[in-house]
């Protein structure tokens, strides 16, 4: 079990995270928050790349910083900007990292073959990576994080740059893995983790806003999300009044999904809909969504 205890992180005087308390057991945790909210900062502390200004992180009761190489031994990590050696092939690069992870050479060879098949880049396993597309590199990154069969797997925006088919494959891989390990995934693409995450962690104003299951979080805006059709001409005024969540064209009209917080304003032509995680995200971080 991974326990985050009263964690705060300051960059100089700038406060990135404040009084964070979290608990992770085996399962998938989705970390969602807008740009600059501190996801990467939290992840870097969980991977001991940077250290908390205050507080501590414990794995089974031991501070992860004190565990040192024992902790790194059970950790898999995909950084937000995954770097690689351009002149290496995926196989060479993964062999190199396996060696640094202290994995026996024969075991590593077998594991690498497996992993490259898993992320479907086995056909280019021996091509130099400088010829790879962004999505292919990202998949090498995912494979790399799984080399040591980590007990704690931390992925910082793993689906960035993946096409829908590969995102689907990724979801399946992760669900498969989640049974006996802690998986923490940060992402902006809410739909990528909405249905596979056991719990969602949301950060707002440097603090934890939610740490709960998707359905419980969605309950927070139950009875507030509606859909209706309006004319394009009216849309400007409408969006001044309500937070728009999504819009699409429907013949001559526009179908709009929005938040209405005042029960008295509800009209009979509106259809109440079940909120999803993306609605919550837009609702919570809506500062600039209402048209002025």
């Amino acid at each position: 079990m991974l326990l985050v205890n009263n964690l705060s992180k300051y960059y100089g005087k700038f406060c990135a995270l404040k009084d964070i308390n979290l608990e992770f057991d085996n399962g998938i945790y989705g970390l969602i928050a807008p740009n600059g909210a501190g996801k990467t900062t939290l992840i870097k502390m969980l991977t001991t790349l940077i250290f908390p200004t205050k507080g501590e992180i414990l794995y089974n009761g031991t501070n992860i910083v004190d565990m040192d190489d024992e902790y790194r031994d059970i950790l898999g990590y995909l950084p937000q900007d995954f770097g690689y050696y351009k002149n290496y092939t995926p196989t060479q690069f993964l062999m190199y990292l396996s060696a640094l992870k202290g994995i026996d050479k024969n075991k590593a060879e077998k594991k690498i073959k497996e992993l490259l098949e898993l992320v479907a880049i086995d056909d280019v396993a021996d091509k130099k990576m400088k010829k790879f597309s962004g999505g292919m590199i990202q998949r090498v990154g995912i494979a790399q994080a799984l080399l040591n069969d980590p007990k704690i797997l931390i992925l910082d925006e793993p689906t960035a740059g993946l096409d829908p088919k590969e995102r689907m494959r990724f979801k399946n891989i992760i669900s498969e893995l989640s049974r006996d390990r802690i998986i923490i995934i940060s992402t902006h693409i809410v739909s990528d983790i909405e249905f596979i995450a056991n719990e969602i962690v949301m950060i707002k104003d440097h603090r934890i806003l939610y740490k709960d299951s998707t359905s419980n979080i969605c309950k927070s805006i139950e009875d507030k999300v509606y859909e209706t059709e309006i004319q394009f001409n009216d849309s400007h005024d409408f969006k001044k009044k309500y937070i728009s969540l999504s819009e699409r064209q429907e013949g001559e009209n526009m179908k709009i999904r929005f938040i209405c917080e005042n029960k008295k304003e509800i009209k009979s032509t509106w259809a109440k809909v079940n909120p999803n995680l993306e609605d919550v995200f837009l609702y919570e971080y809506n500062d600039n969504l209402k048209e002025k």
Binding site: T48, D69, R72, Y77, G83, Y84, M95, A99, G102, Q144
Partner: protein, 249 residues
């Protein structure tokens, strides 16, 4: 007493494992730790940038040989100035390789993935620097031997002692600065300082400096050498356990 009656303390196997692990882990000596790492990671991976390193070694050796030839051809050079030359240049090869090595690792986008591996950059660096220092000693010795062939006034043992002392003294200080200051300027300053101060002493023909290099009994020199090696190993150990603040070095 009945043999069967001896009480066995009741410790379960997990506790024993705990005790054994806790007891053994810190006791692994520095050298067996390095040897272990070397075996596990392998030469090819430790020196994945070997071609760049060889390039630096060759360039440096070439430059130093060139400088040595100029000094040799100069009739006004005194023996102690040769010692002084050795003292100044001995750490240079080591310095260049180590500096390149750190700079290179930090420039690479791979820093983060390498940093969370079991053997991370600091531990690998300790091993690499240890090997660099041996390579440096070998190169320096060859250079000194060449001096000796052309100028038999030189005491070979003293020259070697001076060279090794300089190398380890400098690298200990280098590591200390690397681990204890985050200001880049301090690092450059100390490197430039080493060369400038020594050159100034050599050119000004400072008497103490002269005596220190040539008149000191040889066993004092050897004693100094051993202390510096000790200091160096200690700083390498620190590097292994080093956890950088902010992920910066």
């Amino acid at each position: 007493m009945d043999k069967n009656n001896i009480e066995v303390p009741n410790i379960n196997s997990i506790e024993i494992k705990d005790i054994v692990e806790k007891g053994i882990k810190p006791k692994v000596s520095f050298f067996s730790y390095l040897r272990d790492m070397y075996k596990k990671v392998g030469f090819k991976n430790i020196f994945h940038d070997i071609s760049e390193i060889i390039f630096i070694v060759l360039i440096t050796l070439f430059t130093l040989c060139f400088a040595a030839i100029i000094i040799k051809d100069n009739d006004y050079i005194e023996v102690w100035q040769i010692y002084s030359f050795i003292f100044v240049v001995s750490p240079i090869l080591y310095l260049l390789i180590s500096f390149f090595s750190f700079f290179n690792t930090k420039q690479n986008g791979t820093y983060e993935v390498e940093m969370i591996c079991k053997y991370n950059i600091y531990q690998l660096s300790a091993l690499r620097m240890f090997i660099f220092s041996i390579v440096s000693i070998l190169c320096n010795s060859i250079l000194i031997f060449m001096f000796f062939i052309v100028n038999e006034e030189i005491n070979l043992l003293r020259a070697l002692a001076i060279s090794i002392t300089a190398l380890f003294l400098f690298s200990s200080v280098f590591l200390y600065v690397l681990l204890n200051t985050s200001h880049k300027i301090t690092k450059y300053f100390m490197i430039a300082g080493w060369i400038i101060i020594n050159l100034a002493l050599m050119i000004s023909k400072n008497n103490y400096y002269n005596v220190l290099l040539t008149q000191l009994p040889i066993y004092v020199h050897l004693g100094l050498t051993i202390s510096c090696i000790y200091l160096y190993i200690k700083s390498l150990k620190k590097l292994i356990n080093f956890r950088s603040v902010k992920g910066e070095m």
